[in-house]
């Protein structure tokens, strides 16, 4: 068995985590920044459009050897100068590994089902429905870190596996999630 190349650090030290927030509303961007900072992330970059986000991703992640890679992009869906889903497609179409595998969380005020579909099909790792809360934000960030998904490459799609792993039914236990958990999952979105 191959041993991991790097030794794991203590649980959750988000200090070195680098997040790019792309949102055209300066107030919303500031709000998200202060919240993410409270969660322990010290390196937060801001972009006020999809185009600016692309420039920043290129600047920080184009060089594979750079120690300052952006680790995650949190992007709004509707923005001038390139929407969030366009940004995600651009990221997934990149030839550079440090860009194309970049985890992305798509935020939108749109109704849950639609945003989840758009996010899934454009190659986002997670979707988050606004209004945001600290719990929602922490859940998304931690989910991407704790449950990395394999990537799928087909002629029409490149992105995290769109099929979530399902638990097998055991005996008569047919219901995997309790009703409260289903509700909780919907609320999480």
């Amino acid at each position: 068995m191959n041993a991991p190349k790097q030794k794991q650090k203590d649980p959750y030290s988000l200090k070195s985590f680098r997040v790019l927030v792309a949102d055209d509303y300066p107030f919303m961007a500031d709000l998200m920044t202060s919240m993410i900072r409270e969660l322990g992330v010290e390196h937060i970059l801001l972009a006020n459009s999809g185009a600016e986000a692309k420039e920043m991703v290129m600047m920080f992640n184009a060089d594979p050897g750079s120690p300052n890679h952006i680790d995650m992009v949190i992007t709004d869906w509707l923005m001038p100068g390139g929407d969030g889903d366009e940004l995600i497609r651009w990221i997934r179409d990149s030839k550079k590994d440090a860009i194309k595998f970049l985890p992305v969380v798509l935020c939108s005020a749109y109704t849950s089902e639609e945003i989840v579909t758009i996010a899934r099909d454009s190659g986002a790792n997670e979707a988050m429905v606004k209004p945001i809360s600290a719990k929602k934000m922490a859940d998304r960030i931690l989910h991407v870190i704790n449950h990395p998904r394999p990537f799928i490459k087909t002629p029409n799609f490149f992105g995290p596996d769109r099929r979530r792993r399902l638990e097998k039914y055991k005996g008569e236990e047919r219901r995997v999630m309790k009703p409260d958990e289903v509700k909780e999952t919907h609320e999480r979105l």
Partner: protein, 160 residues
């Protein structure tokens, strides 16, 4: 056997090696939520551009609502922004109301005069909510307004 055109690339654990795994302390999340709630941003000026966009979309729709998708998109987009921002800046009532109306608009195939009227009343209601600082859940009046809108949406029947 034909070769599959799809390829699966193993999940990367790079981020786990960088930051660790586990949970974030509940207190940290509470503090982050407090930072959000303590932000002294006034929602009213923030909402103004979206309210103006909504007004323009309603005016344009009154003139011509033949292009259903374009009309609904122009109305829904500012409402979506209002929903998102209101919730983040302690206007839960406005956020819930716009969220409910968005869901109603989702069910509309073709906009008609009644739909445009609902959008117009919503616009005026948000203006009043901001003028009267109806932050939080909007209190008793917020509840009445929400239920009234809910009834209007339930009773809606498309024009024939």
């Amino acid at each position: 056997m034909a070769k599959s055109k799809s390829k699966k690339i193993k999940a990367s654990k790079e981020l786990q090696f960088k930051v660790g795994t586990g949970k974030i302390d509940e207190k940290v999340i509470k503090d982050a939520q407090k930072a959000l709630e303590d932000s002294k941003v006034d929602f009213a000026p923030l909402a103004r551009p979206d309210l103006n966009k909504l007004q323009k979309a309603i005016d344009a729709a009154r003139e011509d609502f033949s292009d259903s998708d374009a009309v609904m998109d122009s109305i829904k987009t500012p409402i979506m922004n209002l929903k998102a921002n209101a919730g983040s800046f302690d206007y839960e009532f406005v956020s819930n109301l716009t969220g409910m109306i968005l869901m109603f608009f989702e069910s509309v195939d073709k906009p008609d005069k009644k739909v445009i009227q609902i959008a117009d009343v919503l616009h005026k209601t948000i203006l009043l909510a901001l003028a009267y600082n109806m932050s939080g859940d909007g209190g008793k009046n917020g509840k009445i307004l929400f239920e009234t809108f809910e009834q209007i949406c339930k009773k809606y029947k498309p024009s024939t």
